[in-house]
């Protein structure tokens, strides 16, 4: 990880600008990568609003909110780490990197407890899936209607998709919700793990003072990646946790 200027670049500035543009182009591919799941989520939520409300109510909103706050703090500490690298303050970089790693691990820990809760409650999509329909959000005695105008659910007018669900359509469509829940938060958690790995990898060069005003591309790159993963969670949180909470 040569801190000096690579042979094919003419100046530090060209190297820094190239690195930054490279990371941003990579983040655009990540936008499209998560975009596929977001498209599926938006589509199935408009098709099966009741199931998504029922599914969302199985999530612990307090844990979700706390996790969001943890991730926002980690964004701050990451930004401070990049700032310290720009100023070449060795101990500050290491300190803020450690803080970010700690916050990231906290987030993953909380995520693990939520997954365990889903496992215990038989909410993993598949044969073992069973949604306890007893205390579903009911509104004056009938299932809460979605907050989406049914007009969007174009298909239900002429011939509803004949979801031949194992037990009832609610059980089936809620499985869809949880498949997307585990898909999106799982992929996000995987990116968090990679992020924490990158942060740990930065610790040793930071402590050796390799980063200064001229060459802090690696810290800035990991920083951009970390903020991107935070932004994904900023959108995941309302979409997954805050669905039809006003029951």
């Amino acid at each position: 990880m040569s801190a000096d200027l690579a042979h094919h670049f003419d100046s530090y500035e060209q190297q820094a600008k190239s690195a930054s543009l490279g990371v941003w182009v990579f983040l655009v591919t990540e936008i499209m990568f998560f975009g596929g799941l977001f498209t599926a989520y938006i589509l199935y939520r408009s098709k099966y609003p009741e199931a998504f409300i029922a599914g969302s109510h199985q999530l612990d909103i307090a844990l979700g909110t706390f996790n969001t706050a943890v991730l926002i703090c980690s964004s701050l500490t990451m930004a401070m780490a990049v700032r310290s690298a720009q100023l070449g303050k060795r101990t500050a970089i290491v300190g803020f990197l450690m803080a970010t790693i700690l916050l990231g691990s906290t987030f993953l820990g909380i995520k693990a407890t939520e997954y365990h809760h889903k496992w215990v409650e038989h909410l993993i999509p598949g044969e073992s899936f069973h949604l306890d329909e007893a205390h579903l959000p009911t509104h004056h005695g009938k299932p809460v209607l979605s907050d989406l105008p049914t007009g969007i659910v174009g298909e239900s007018r002429a011939d509803a998709p004949l979801s031949t669900a194992p037990r009832s359509d609610l059980q089936a469509h809620t499985q869809l919700y949880f498949f997307l829940y585990f898909g999106m938060t799982g992929l996000h958690a995987l990116h968090m793990i990679i992020g924490v790995g990158l942060l740990v990898w930065l610790l040793s060069p930071s402590s050796k003072g390799k980063f200064d005003a001229d060459n802090h591309n690696y810290v800035e790159g990991v920083g951009l990646y970390w903020h991107f993963v935070d932004i994904v969670w900023i959108f995941l949180f309302p979409l997954l946790y805050l669905v039809g909470r006003h029951g």
């Binding site: 543009l21 182009v25 990540e30 499209m32 998560f34 199935y44 598949g126 359509d169 898909g183």
Partner: protein, 559 residues
């Protein structure tokens, strides 16, 4: 074809074999651990050629099978695996990486006057990722292959097949990242590493085309990655968002699949368009007519390419209104291609046209791509697609674009830059003959398939009604000629590496930074960092003379 011998620029004495990227270091490690974009291009050339031969063998088997209506050569499921793997290998492991991997890697730094790509280590990583993806797919192939078609439609691919879908899906997933990294590398290089004076309007059109291709690779490939992950998850957990049993919609898989796979066909054709622009300019000795139109039409194709995917799904149960929207947008995406064809043809007017082999391939490309493109407009027409969707009309259309267009462009580019890559000239007679054989063989193979398609013969049929046999036999005959046609260049190009005449720095007398350095170029590409003072494709009587003389080492066009 040309009776009068073509003028090969007399080379008084071959330039003394200076130090260049091929003889700078030796040994396996110097190749497998190289960070030199030129060597990585050679690595790509070898690996994609391997997959091209593999895919080509399957094509021959398919055509042999289809010579008889009953399907006597292989069992139905073997045939299904043949056409599936033919599709997967040819598309994901040959057409998509071919020109960007080989010609793009080698030439973009040279053409913009840079020492190397922006991220050399990532460039090598993208080759290794490509090889790993290829190995997974090869493993799946030798252990039984896949029988879902290269499109992997759910629910067949998710629940109703027990073949090696996971292995091939993983192979494509991994190879996708190689495509992303190449695209990323090119975009950053083109933005950040152009030589002084190399403004955007002086960029060679080859570079413009690769810039557009990279945009598609960056924005499209991640979507096939997530689609494959969803497919794999559904196969693993027996539940997923495409499963009708839990309310999922199999048509959604088609939306996600084609969101990438249609722009992917532009990934395959745009680089060839870039090559053809270079060839037309070099062998007509003239500026390309309407340079800015041709350049921006590449970008227009990249952008509009993302809006049209559902023209693959007109009969798949999507709403008629959505079909109408996608049909209009598909008509718009045909316009930039028309601009390119008209501009190329007009460039030939009052040119100084030489009939060298690369030019034959370029002119063949324009003709066949016009037929391919216009049949594409017919398929985008809702009324016609209703009848010919999933028939051999579609097979003929995309082979006219892929084989008649992309591979012709690739062959033309390979011949044109062969002297620069290897420092050797290829035999002129055999290259002209093989170009004509390929042109004839191609047309005899795929033109009958248009007729078969309108007759209603469906795609991917192992047996077919007897009345389609005559046209199928014609097509199979053409396929053998085409197969032979491809063998000849393979032979004489490899032969030329050792026995070919040495090439001067600029054997074609063309304008372009890559011709300003030695053939093959030194490791650092240029002795002295070049400064660009001339417009794109600026041919003058004087420059023509000037660039012909065998160059001393390095660039003599200073300041």
């Amino acid at each position: 074809m040309s009776t009068q011998t073509e003028f090969v620029i007399p080379v008084e004495e071959a330039p003394e074999p200076g130090d260049h990227y091929l003889n700078h270091t030796f040994g396996l490690a110097s190749w497998l651990l190289t960070k030199d974009h030129k060597r990585i291009a050679i690595l790509y050339l070898i690996s994609i050629s391997f997959f091209f031969v593999l895919g080509g063998l399957m094509a021959v088997l398919i055509r042999l099978e289809l010579t008889t209506p009953e399907g006597d050569l292989v069992q139905p499921d073997i045939y299904n695996r043949l056409f599936t793997m033919h599709g997967v290998l040819m598309i994901f492991f040959f057409l998509i990486p071919a020109i960007p991997g080989v010609l793009g890697n080698f030439l973009i730094p040279l053409m913009i006057g840079a020492k190397d790509l922006a991220f050399p280590k990532i460039n090598l990583l993208s080759w290794y990722i490509y090889v790993i993806g290829g190995l997974f797919t090869f493993y799946a192939l030798v252990s039984g292959g896949v029988d879902t078609g290269w499109t992997f439609y759910a629910p067949l691919s998710t629940t109703f097949t027990s073949t090696h879908v996971m292995a091939v899906a993983l192979g494509i997933f991994i190879a996708g990242f190689s495509s992303i990294l190449t695209g990323l590398n090119f975009v950053v290089t083109i933005h950040r590493m152009r030589a002084p004076g190399m403004t955007w309007s002086r960029l060679p059109l080859f570079v413009w085309a690769h810039y557009a291709t990279s945009i598609i690779q960056i924005l499209g490939t991640p979507v096939i990655a997530i689609t494959i992950l969803l497919l794999a998850a559904e196969r693993l957990f027996h539940v997923g968002i495409f499963d009708p049993k839990v309310g999922g919609d199999p048509v959604l898989f088609q939306h996600f699949f084609w969101f990438y796979s249609h722009p992917a066909v532009y990934i395959m054709i745009l680089p060839s368009m870039g090559v053809v622009s270079e060839l037309i300019a070099a062998f007509a000795r003239k500026k390309v007519f309407g340079y800015h139109f041709v350049a921006f039409s590449s970008i227009a194709i990249a952008v509009l390419g993302f809006l049209v995917w559902a023209h693959h799904m007109f009969v798949a149960g999507i709403s008629v209104y959505a079909a109408a929207v996608f049909s209009v947008l598909s008509m718009l995406v045909a316009i930039p291609s028309a601009i390119k064809v008209f501009n190329w043809t007009t460039t030939l007017y009052k040119g100084s046209i030489s009939w060298e082999t690369p030019m034959l391939y370029a002119l063949g490309f324009i003709g066949l791509f016009t037929i391919g493109g216009l049949t594409g407009v017919m398929l985008a027409t809702l009324g016609i697609d209703l009848h010919v969707h999933d028939t051999y009309f579609i097979v003929a259309h995309f082979h006219y674009i892929m084989v008649g267009g992309a591979i012709m462009g690739y062959m033309g580019g390979l011949h044109y830059w062969w002297p620069k890559i290897t420092g050797k000239l290829y035999p002129k007679f055999w290259s002209t003959v093989s170009a004509l054989i390929i042109f004839v063989g191609f047309n005899v193979t795929f033109f009958p398939q248009f007729i078969l398609g309108y007759l209603g013969m469906p795609r991917r049929y192992h047996t077919y009604p007897a009345e389609f046999q005559v046209l199928n036999v014609m097509s199979s005959a053409g396929a053998t000629v085409l197969g032979l046609g491809y063998l000849i260049p393979a032979i004489y190009l490899i032969w030329s590496m050792r026995y070919g005449k040495d090439a001067s720095d600029n054997p074609w007398g063309a304008v372009g930074l890559e011709w300003e350095t030695s053939s093959p170029p030194p490791v650092e590409n240029f002795e002295t960092p070049p400064v660009v003072t001339w417009e794109a494709y600026e041919y003058h009587e004087s420059t023509a003379m000037h660039s012909l003389a065998p160059s001393s080492r390095g660039s003599y066009r200073v300041g």
